[in-house]
């Protein structure tokens, strides 16, 4: 049975991971309200903490070559417990998909086009994503390097244009916040943009070569983290303490840019970057949700489910939170705990069990 169509190569995986992480860049600014001007430190700490986990995900994929998360769960935990864990994972993927769709709608209503109703954005966006997912993994993998290139271009460009506004005294004094807040902000960064790359356990089976998966996975992760770090440094150094007022500091920062009194409002360029990175992220999540459901139910193809799942995801995105404030509150207080088992417990435990039980057993040259 082959649900997944198309193969991707290592560098495509790297760009997919980076652009997946960049897609989250707009949604972690509530972290600033906890860590304030030390958020760069939080990102750096979270990066170091997350490296072993990312390596654990890629080691798992490498150990079970060509098997996705659902199959791995079946092998490791047996068919009953495995199925339950798989269903929990599917719910997690599905929630991520809905919340990201909602985030996109919030961003557009909040910053770009306040007069248009939010459902319009979400539905149109979901339609284009559904179209992309219908073509399998290949098209999104193929355009991921374009989105990353664009994002890097925008980040460096805005940094250079804002150079006159940069004030590094904004970072002082370093590390003056209570340790509990610091832990919370590290946890947010680790759980929301960084270790969400765990979902690539559903993508990595489509790799055509598992030899260097660790390296490329880590490279993509580092690239994404670096971009997030640069964005955070730019925002704090330019806006100083006022960056914590806005819900989307990146957007506010770029609004400052003026080139010769003519190009005064180039934030639409940033909006574009956010949209296309988010596009990759939502497409990956959409694909993963569909692929895992199809794998769990042993369907012939995930394509039949595209529209029903998309429809449910859209409705959940509408009803998930009453307001953007409750969204942020829930994300920083509850969501981070909700994701702990999926990101930090189950994959390492799986890897440990696999090592102890010497899984996967080989029958001839075939994996079972």
């Amino acid at each position: 049975m082959n649900i997944k169509e198309g193969k991707i190569n290592n560098s495509q995986l790297m760009f997919l991971v980076a652009s997946f992480m960049l897609g989250t860049s707009t949604f972690i600014h509530f972290m600033d309200t906890i860590a304030f001007h030390d958020s760069w430190l939080a990102i750096l700490t979270a990066f170091v903490i997350c490296i072993p986990f990312v390596l654990c995900y890629s080691a798992l994929a490498k150990r079970f070559q060509g098997k996705d998360l659902i199959q791995i769960n079946d092998i490791i935990y047996g068919s009953f417990l495995g199925k339950i864990i798989s269903i929990l994972y599917i719910v997690y993927f599905f929630l991520l998909l809905s919340l990201n769709l909602k985030g996109l709608g919030d961003f557009y209503v909040g910053y770009v086009m306040p007069e248009t109703p939010k459902p319009v954005f979400i539905i149109i966006f979901a339609l284009v994503c559904a179209y992309t997912v219908g073509h399998g993994l290949e098209p999104m993998a193929r355009i991921s390097h374009l989105t990353v290139t664009y994002a890097i271009f925008v980040i460096t460009g805005t940094f250079l244009l804002l150079y006159s506004e940069v004030d590094f005294t904004n970072f002082l004094p370093i590390f003056e916040l209570p340790i509990k807040d610091f832990i919370q902000s590290v946890h947010i960064v680790a759980a929301i943009p960084f270790c969400e790359v765990m979902v690539f356990l559903m993508v990595m089976p489509s790799l055509n070569n598992f030899g260097e998966v660790n390296k490329y996975m880590l490279l993509g992760f580092a690239l994404g983290a670096l971009c997030l770090l640069v964005i955070s440094v730019r925002d704090t150094s330019v806006l100083g303490t006022s960056s914590f007022i806005s819900n989307n500091a990146a957007y506010q920062t770029v609004r400052i840019i003026e080139i010769g009194e003519f190009f005064t409002r180039i934030e639409i360029v940033v909006a574009m970057g956010i949209t296309i990175c988010l596009f990759i992220k939502i497409c990956v999540l959409y694909y993963i949700t569909l692929a895992s459901i199809a794998q769990l139910l042993k369907l012939k193809s995930y394509k039949t489910l595209i529209i029903p799942i998309g429809g449910i995801a859209i409705i959940i995105a509408f009803i998930a939170y009453d307001s953007i404030v409750s969204h942020n509150y829930s994300a920083k207080n509850y969501h981070v705990f909700y994701t702990i088992p999926y990101q930090f417990i189950i994959p390492p435990v799986s890897l440990l069990i696999a090592k102890l039980r010497r899984l996967p057993k080989r029958k001839g040259r075939e994996l079972i």
Binding site: L95, A294, K300, I309, G311, I312, I315, I316, K332, F337
Partner: protein
């Protein structure tokens, strides 16, 4: 509005179900019907302005009970 939503769903079903029947994948068909029904019910409820409980609040409730939150 509700007519629009329902007609969109009917068009989708008319497009996909015959395809599935032709290819004789009953598993896919039943999975499709299951999720399709959920989607249809949710959409109709949403359009009718019925308050649907968010799954996230359920998650928050459980985490609250477990004292797992900041």
């Amino acid at each position: 509005m509700i007519i629009l939503v329902v007609s969109i769903y009917i068009i989708i079903a008319l497009y996909q179900v015959p395809n599935l029947i032709k290819r004789e994948c009953m598993r896919d068909l039943s999975a499709f019907c299951f999720f399709y029904t959920i989607a249809l019910v949710l959409s109709i409820l949403y359009v009718l302005d019925v308050k649907i409980p968010s799954p996230i609040s359920g998650m928050e409730l459980i985490l609250d009970k477990l004292q797992l939150h900041y």
